[in-house]
């Protein structure tokens, strides 16, 4: 059942590095992370790989497999030809620490910029009543496992490091969207999404949606609705006029 797999792994750090070829034993039903672990146990004890749950739920083992941003624990070897050499490299958008591990602190810094959830007061009976249809949009975004694959694949920062300060990235657009659509939240986050998160930089080319392991429709359900909400506020005189006349928040 087992066979020899040709693996080309990028090894190195910020100063230098290159692809190294390995031949590793592989078994039926295994995923890329399994053979990386076997590589660690048998040939390269200090090979740096970040991982946790190995079940596609924590979003730690993000890397690029044959150039595709993927969770290595969810990338089955059966998707490849047995004779094919599989290349494995670190996320390209973030500084490399060592081997397949990158410094993803960019994302945690962006998380700090999101203003906190600010709920309205509770109902008189001490509860919050929200209907299922009111929470469903937010629930989709809260499926996010923060694997940073969308951030990594987004060309706005992948190809243009200089955009990092002004751009929060797809993961945070759905966070802003989640809060803006939250039935209890009292903040208006439209200006922030534009000014602070830089949603105008996004040209909706949908790579974030393509790589999302949770299948979240980041672009159609998160970014575009937020672009429309920003347009309401910033580019649409009719909506502006309407909100002045009817004094309505929504």
């Amino acid at each position: 059942m087992g066979y020899d797999l040709q693996l080309r792994v990028w090894r190195g750090d910020a100063a230098k590095g290159d692809f190294i070829d390995f031949t590793v034993e592989a078994e039926e039903g295994e995923v890329v992370l399994d053979v990386l672990h076997r590589l660690q146990a048998t040939q390269a004890g200090d090979l740096a790989v970040r991982w946790n749950c190995k079940a596609g739920k924590c979003g730690s083992c993000s890397m690029e497999v044959n150039g595709h941003p993927r969770l290595s624990c969810m990338t089955r070897l059966s998707d490849f030809d047995r004779a094919e050499t599989i290349s494995v490299s670190p996320l390209r958008t973030f500084p490399v620490i060592k081997d397949l591990v990158t410094d993803v602190s960019f994302n945690y810094e962006k998380a700090k910029e999101v203003p906190a959830f600010a709920p309205r007061p509770k109902d008189p009976d001490g509860t919050y009543r929200m209907m299922q249809e009111d929470v469903e949009r937010g629930q989709e975004f809260r499926k996010c496992i923060e694997c940073w694959l969308c951030q990594n694949t987004c060309h706005v920062i992948r190809d243009h490091e200089e955009n990092k300060p002004a751009f929060a990235g797809p993961r945070y657009f759905i966070r802003y969207a989640e809060l803006d659509m939250h039935p209890l939240d009292t903040n208006d986050r439209r200006t922030l999404t534009d000014k602070q998160a830089g949603i105008g930089l996004c040209n909706i080319t949908k790579c974030c949606t393509e790589v999302c392991p949770e299948g979240i429709k980041i672009t159609d359900n998160g970014i575009i609705p937020m672009k429309e909400r920003v347009a309401d506020r910033k580019y649409d005189p009719l909506v502006w006029l309407g909100s002045k006349i009817f004094r309505r928040g929504e």
Partner: protein, 266 residues
């Protein structure tokens, strides 16, 4: 477009991988197909709009020329023919900016042409060829934000196309009860254009997307749900309606210039 082209040195701190992409699949097929089809439509559409002839073959009016604005239009059509006789340029100049603007600012087409024509990015995880990138934050791309206004116009155009599809059920004498291949083309065009218009992201936003409490607006929530279903296939509607509008124009053109005769069913 070789997969291994080195475009620029990697950013300091990042892994030193110089290849533009490590992808081994034929990622360039997608953008290539888009470029060919979209480019083909632009070429054909421009030519068809500029020739200013053969756009009417009783009872069919090419959708590229609807609504019919010139005084040479047949009397059966209901639109105001405000273009005076001295106007010699194509009436498409007054018509096409609206549907064109709608498609140009459409959230789906934006993805398609940014990828296919501007390579920004050509495909996911493939390096883009530009030194600088400012997205849709500056003129002219900041104008993409007016999409909703084109949507309002697109609704009017959808209505006009429906009207012409209905009128295509009349025969040469203006009596109801006709149907030919041209009718089918115009009906297909009207349906696809309408669905494409209604499936628009701006439409989705206007019907209910901008609300935070669906439960307080059950009718708008229902509308939003329906639009959302259509919106899930916005790309498919975009392509289908584009191809059919060109085919409908071509068919009517061929009938009008006598190359073929319309096949009538009854």
């Amino acid at each position: 477009m070789s997969a291994q082209t080195t475009v620029q040195a990697p950013t300091p701190g990042r892994a030193r991988i110089t290849a533009r992409t490590m992808r081994k699949d034929r990622w360039w097929i997608g953008p290539l197909v888009t470029a060919v089809v979209l480019g083909g439509f632009v070429v054909y559409g421009t030519w068809a709009a500029l020739v200013n002839a053969n756009y009417y073959a009783e009872p069919y009016l090419s959708p590229l020329y609807a609504p019919c604005l010139t005084s040479s239009c047949p009397e059966q059509l209901l639109e105001p023919r405000f273009l005076a006789d001295w106007w010699i340029l194509t009436p498409a100049l007054f018509i096409l900016p609206f549907p064109l603007g709608f498609r140009l600012t459409c959230y789906y087409y934006r993805k398609a042409y940014y990828r296919a024509f501007w390579g920004s990015p050509p495909a996911c995880a493939v390096g883009e060829p530009h030194k600088r990138y400012t997205g849709e934050t500056r003129f002219p791309l900041i104008l993409q934000n007016v999409h909703r206004y084109f949507f309002y116009f697109a609704l009017i155009f959808a209505a006009i196309n429906i009207e012409h599809a209905i009128l295509a059920f009349r025969n040469h004498e203006g009596e109801w009860g006709h149907m030919g291949v041209g009718t089918l083309f115009l009906v297909a065009n009207a349906v696809l254009l309408t669905v494409y218009t209604l499936s628009c992201h701006s439409c989705r936003h206007i019907t209910g997307g901008r609300l935070n409490h669906f439960s307080r607006h059950p009718v708008r929530y229902w509308l939003w749900t329906q639009v959302s279903k259509l919106n899930g296939r916005h790309m498919e509607w975009a392509w289908a309606s584009l191809v059919v509008v060109a085919l409908a124009d071509l068919y009517i053109r061929l009938v009008a210039n006598g190359t073929i005769t319309d096949i009538t069913f009854f």
